[in-house]
Every structure is written in structure tokens, then in C-alpha cells.
Amino acid sequence: MQKVLVDLKNICKSFGDTEVLHDFNLYIMENEFVTLLGPSGCGKTTLLRMIGGFDSPTSGDIYFDGKLINGVEPNKREINTVFQRYALFPHLNVFDNVAFGLKLKKMEKSQIKEEVEAALKLVKLEGFEDRKIDTLSGGQMQRIAMARAIVCKPKLLLLDEPLAALDLKLRQDMQYELKEMQKKLGITFIYVTHDQEEALTMSDTIVVMNEGRILQIGTPEMIYNEPKTRFVANFIGESNIVEGKMLKDYLVKFEGASFECVDNGFSKNEDVDVVIRPEDLEIIDAKDAKIKGVIDSKTFKGVHHEINIIVNDKEYTVHTTKDYPLGIEVGLTVSPENIQIMKKPGLNTFSGVMDYDGKVKISDNIVLDSESELEEGTAVVVRILTGDVLLDDIDESDFKGTIKDIKKRGIYSDVYVESENIIFVSSTSKVHHVGDEVGVWIKPEKVKLEVEEDEGD
């Protein structure tokens, strides 16, 4: 049976006032190839540095092989790292770079030589022992960095965008080689990248991150085919995302027509986002199609044509191997299993009246701070994303309420909190229970106001 090698529990990390990781939980199995995927600044490198021992979490625990390693120095961890720009030692030659860790372990000279040669062989750089670092190409440096780390026989190898500095062709070759190496060595890899293609090619598991949170965990296929949020859908390859309505289970309506799909569990007539990959849309004769549009522009991409089709003022992107002339009317179709339904980001909507100093009153006792400068007495519509309604200890909150209902939404839950007959929905990953009394807290900048239009207009 596989066992858990790395277990991250409630990791939070702040640099000054900026929180880069929020209550991060993740476990990684032995021999797994896990990729942390996200845009720069999403916290993935910080996470890697904490596992490697170069940073401490502000709070939370890191377990490695069952032991708490929060304060363990990096030289005492059975973990090695391949750094972003390799961090090879410029004053040492290839042999001494690779032998660096072994020499510190006070290994016999003859054995060091053997191990170094074996490692160089593995990275296909036999005979490079005496070369100076500044005579190596980028790809060779990358391999030496790899050899230097794996020669220490770590249980876990951390790779921080190791291919980012290489050109496209080399990068694709190395992706394959890295995966092979991981299989051969049987070492757990944690791989950090912002390149979705790398992640999809190599990983057993992908963790998509943004703004210090996990958005989705899954196999490459799951992440690609069933993105759970708009962000994931956009980040993993190009997508057509349109608004739709879930008529009932397995039936969604968009572009004025209803389509069979494979999703269920939404409420009746719930507004949803519909995601369709460009390669899943098929161009057919307009008269046979539920969706009709006009070809607006096209680009030849080598393997396929990228065709943009305007449907009801919206642009759909289609990838097809066939070429079509510009300006003709075409139809679009998609098979049920290629339609991915996503829940819309939740929104709380209230009506309220402006009070002094940008405060907005939405009931007798519930007054929220906002950054608005609207005049006192103005009637407004208040919109707050469910993710911005924070549930907290009662003491520090704006007001308190009672949890009426909790709906699981994948890794998040929608928590329904009632206060003075007003229901607030909060999307949170923290655990709550129905009936609990909680404090509700909303940052002033998250409170969006709009002046209420008169009905008579």
C-alpha cells in the first residue's frame, strides 16, 4: 500500500502584510509525481521552499515521512532540490558539483567516484567530469543540477521550474526524460511550474493554485476535461466559457438551445458557466445546427486551424484540421461528454441605503463598511461575492449569525448564515456545522455598490 510522504497541514505564510498561502492542506504519496501549477506569485515556490527547509510557515505543520519537520534545517532533511536557475557552484567543475553532497556525507573517495559516474550516466553526461560549469549549455546545466540532487538519494526531489530557462524543443525532450527518470529512480517528485503543458505531460497529480489557495487537485485528464472553476479552465489551455442555465440534471441551456450533458447536482434553472474546449467544438452545416455563427477570422497553427466564429456577438474559438473560407455561416455542435458545467461564482445581492461615511445599511442592525462616497440616503444594490463573506470568531466580526445550511461544492462549501432574516452565503474551505453561531466579516473594499435605478425609467 502506498503511504503518505509529505503532509501539509493548515499552512499559512505571510510576508509582512501579504498573505501568500492561506490555510493550505495537501498530502503527497510516495513515488508520486506531483505538479504545483499556477501563475507567478500564487505561492507555489514559497510552498516548495518550506518543504525544502528554506522558509518557515507562519503557522501550520509540515510532516515528512510521518515526522514534523517545521524547524529541521535543510541539511538534515532527506530532500533535495533542483533550483530554478540550477545554482551550480561556478568555482567547481562538473565532478565536484555532483560530488558536493556526497563529500559532505564523508563518503569514501572511490565510492563517490562511482556514484558520481552513475549519476552522470543517468543524465546522459558521461565524460563531462572535468568540464567547467561556464562551458556548459543550459540543457547540460539542467542535467548536472539534476545529477547533483539525485546522487544524494533523497526520498523527495523538489524541482522549481527546472525547464523554464530552456528553449522549446529542449524543454519537450526534458519533460519526457524527467518523467522517465522519476519512474526509474522511484523518488517522489514535487514539480513547480507555470507551464500547463509541462504539468499535463509529466504529472501523476496536478495541484492548480492561485493566490495561495488550491483551486483543484486531480489527474491531468481530470483537470483538463473537468475544470472546476473559470480560472482553472482558462489556465489549463484555451477554453470557450459561456453563460448557461441548468434546466435539470443532464440538460443545460445556452445560446438559446438546450444540450444534453453529463453533469448533475445543480438546482433547477441555476445559472452556470459552460466550458467547451476549442478542439471539442465541431463545425457542421448551418442548417443542421442549434448554434449558428459566422467565421470571423482564422489562423493556421501548423497542426490545426484556429477559427474564430461569432455567435450572437460572442466569439467562439474552434480548432479544426479542415480549412473554411472567411465570412460563411456555419453551425457548431458538441457532444455531451465534452460539455463541462461549472458553478458560477456565488453572489450575495441585497438592497440597502447609504448611511454616513460610506456605511451601508441593509437592515435595522446590519451596517456594512464600504469604500463608497455616495450620499447619505441613496438607495443602493449591494453585491458581495460569496468568497468575500468571511466567517470568523464572534468577537472580531461585523455582526453575528447562525448557520442554517451547508452545501458541499467540491473543495469548498457554501455556508448559509442567517442574521435578522437576511441570508448571507459564504464560500469557505473551513469546517462549519449547521446551527453554529458565527461572526460574519466583510472587508469594506469587497462591498460593491450600485445606485438603485428607479423602476419608472
Binding site: 528554506f54 505543520d61 510521518g66 514534523l68 524547524g71
Partner: protein, 285 residues
């Protein structure tokens, strides 16, 4: 299921991993002790009657400051000395700039090895004792028989230029060397002549080095006392001489502190100028 192993070290949980940042902390303490504390002492004794040598009573006073504003001494000695210092160090700085900039410019267009040799030759005189070099200037002026009252100021300026010229050349060279040659080529490409390229591209880009060089020449020559003492046989009094006298004479620390504060004001202005163009002082050496 195996029970979770006991934690390796219980104190680990809250232990933070140390980074190399810690290496700078003793330096902060060191700077604090050797810069901040004496600065406070300086201000303290400038505003008090406290006498270091006798350990007399302490009382607050403005007398040390009024000494440099209202007194006979202020009118006949202090302010004229300041004026003379500015005149001399201003002249030194201007001469150093016009002599030094072309040198730095020429160095930049040399082969790397020639540059390094010129650089070495500029630093080398520092290995010849500065006091002895000043004394040598006196000997030269004696040989030339220009060691007379009329020539004292000019002699001081010449000796100071000789002393401080390398400190003008080096920062300017450092900045000039960093200018990407492609920028100069781009300027020619866009139709600028040599002269235009120099005044519109090279000169503005070397401004940081010029400011560093000016400050590194101006401040030392403003506060030098050894040159005027030696070359003018103590006949010309400059700002540096005033401070030095207070330090040599007994009980002069209070007024000496006031003089130092005046000097510090000038050097703060210089410091701010340098830091504006070069936050980390990369052009200082």
C-alpha cells in the same frame, strides 16, 4: 495503522529557520554603537557645558552655537574660514571634474588590460603616505619659491587636486563602464553626432558617477586641515583647521561639536545627493 511517531524535537514546532539575513544583524548593532551613539553625544555636548576632560557640571546652553553666530570670533574667523573653505574646495572640485572626466572617458575606450593598468596607477599613489605627499608639495613650492602669502591658496588647491583627483575619476569610470555600448550605437544610428551623443546620452547617463565623484572630492577638500597647515605654514585657516584646533586645545569639544555639526549638515546634503542617484552606493568605489 501505525501510530504517529513521536516528534523529533518538541521545540521544533515553533522554531523558525534562520536565513542569511541574520548575518547582517551584528552589523546593524555595530553601526548603531559607532555612528548613532556618538552622534547623540555630539548633539548633547554641542548643547551643553559638559566638559569631557574635567567632567564638569552639565547644563543646557545655546552658547556654543551663539559663538559661531554673534561673537567677534564668528565674524573675524569662523565665517571667513567657511567661505574660504567653500571657495577652495569648490575650485578643487571643478578642476578635478574637468581633468578627471576626460580621463575616465579615455579609460573606458581602452582595452580591458590597459584600463586595469590605468586604474591600478590611479590607486597606487594611495600607497605613498598622504602626509608625506603633502609635505612633498610643500617642498616643491619651496623649490619653486612660490611659498609666499600670495600663492598660499593656489598652492593649497594644487596639492588638494593632486590628493583627491583619483576619487573623482574612479566613480565616473565605474558608471561609464556600465553604459551599454549599444546605447551609444543606437544614438549614432538615430542620427546624433559625436558631440550630440556625448552631451545627450553619455553625459546624462554618467550623472550618478559625477555626483558621487563630486561629493567624494568636495567633502574631503572642504574638511581637510593637513594640506592648508603644511602648505601655508598654518597661515590659512579652513573649516578642517577650526575643528582640529578645538580637538587639540583643551576644553574645546563643545564648540568643536558645533563645528562638526555644521560639517555634518554639509555632508548630509552630499549624502542625500549620492543616495538619490545611487541607492546602494555602487559608484562610491
Amino acid at each position: 495503522m501505525k501510530a504517529t511517531k513521536s516528534l523529533p524535537i518538541s521545540a521544533d514546532k515553533n522554531k523558525k529557520l534562520k536565513s542569511t539575513k541574520n548575518y547582517a544583524i551584528p552589523y546593524l548593532v555595530w553601526c548603531f554603537v559607532l555612528i548613532l551613539i556618538p552622534s547623540l553625544v555630539l548633539i548633547f555636548i554641542a548643547f551643553s557645558t559638559y566638559d569631557f576632560t574635567s567632567g564638569s557640571d552639565v547644563s543646557f546652553t545655546f552658547n556654543n552655537f551663539s559663538y559661531i553666530f554673534g561673537s567677534e570670533y564668528a565674524i573675524s574667523v569662523f565665517w571667513p574660514s567657511i567661505g574660504r573653505s567653500f571657495y577652495i574646495s569648490g575650485a578643487v572640485t571643478v578642476i578635478c571634474f574637468f581633468l578627471g572626466y576626460p580621463v575616465a572617458y579615455l579609460m573606458k575606450s581602452m582595452k580591458p588590460r590597459v584600463r586595469a593598468i590605468i586604474m591600478g596607477l590611479l590607486v597606487l599613489p594611495l600607497w605613498s603616505n598622504q602626509v608625506l605627499r603633502i609635505v612633498s608639495w610643500r617642498t616643491i613650492f619651496e623649490l619653486l619659491q612660490t611659498n609666499t602669502t600670495n600663492f598660499y591658496q593656489i598652492n593649497i588647491i594644487i596639492a588638494m587636486v593632486s590628493m583627491y583627483l583619483p576619487f573623482m575619476i574612479l566613480p565616473i569610470y565605474t558608471v561609464l563602464e556600465k553604459i551599454d555600448p549599444k546605447i551609444i550605437e543606437a544614438s549614432y544610428d538615430l542620427g546624433a553626432s559625436r558631440k550630440q551623443t556625448f552631451f545627450k546620452v553619455t553625459l546624462p547617463l554618467s550623472l550618478g558617477g559625477i555626483i558621487s565623484g563630486v561629493i567624494m572630492t568636495f567633502l574631503p577638500s572642504l574638511t581637510s586641515f593637513e594640506v592648508s597647515d603644511a602648505v601655508s605654514y598654518q597661515n590659512i585657516t579652513l573649516l578642517g583647521n577650526l575643528i582640529y584646533e578645538r580637538f587639540r586645545g583643551t576644553g574645546g569639544f563643545n564648540v568643536g561639536s558645533v563645528f562638526s555639526i555644521v560639517t555634518v549638515v554639509f555632508s548630509i546634503v552630499g549624502f542625500i545627493l549620492v543616495m538619490r542617484v545611487d541607492k546602494e552606493g555602487e559608484t562610491l568605489i
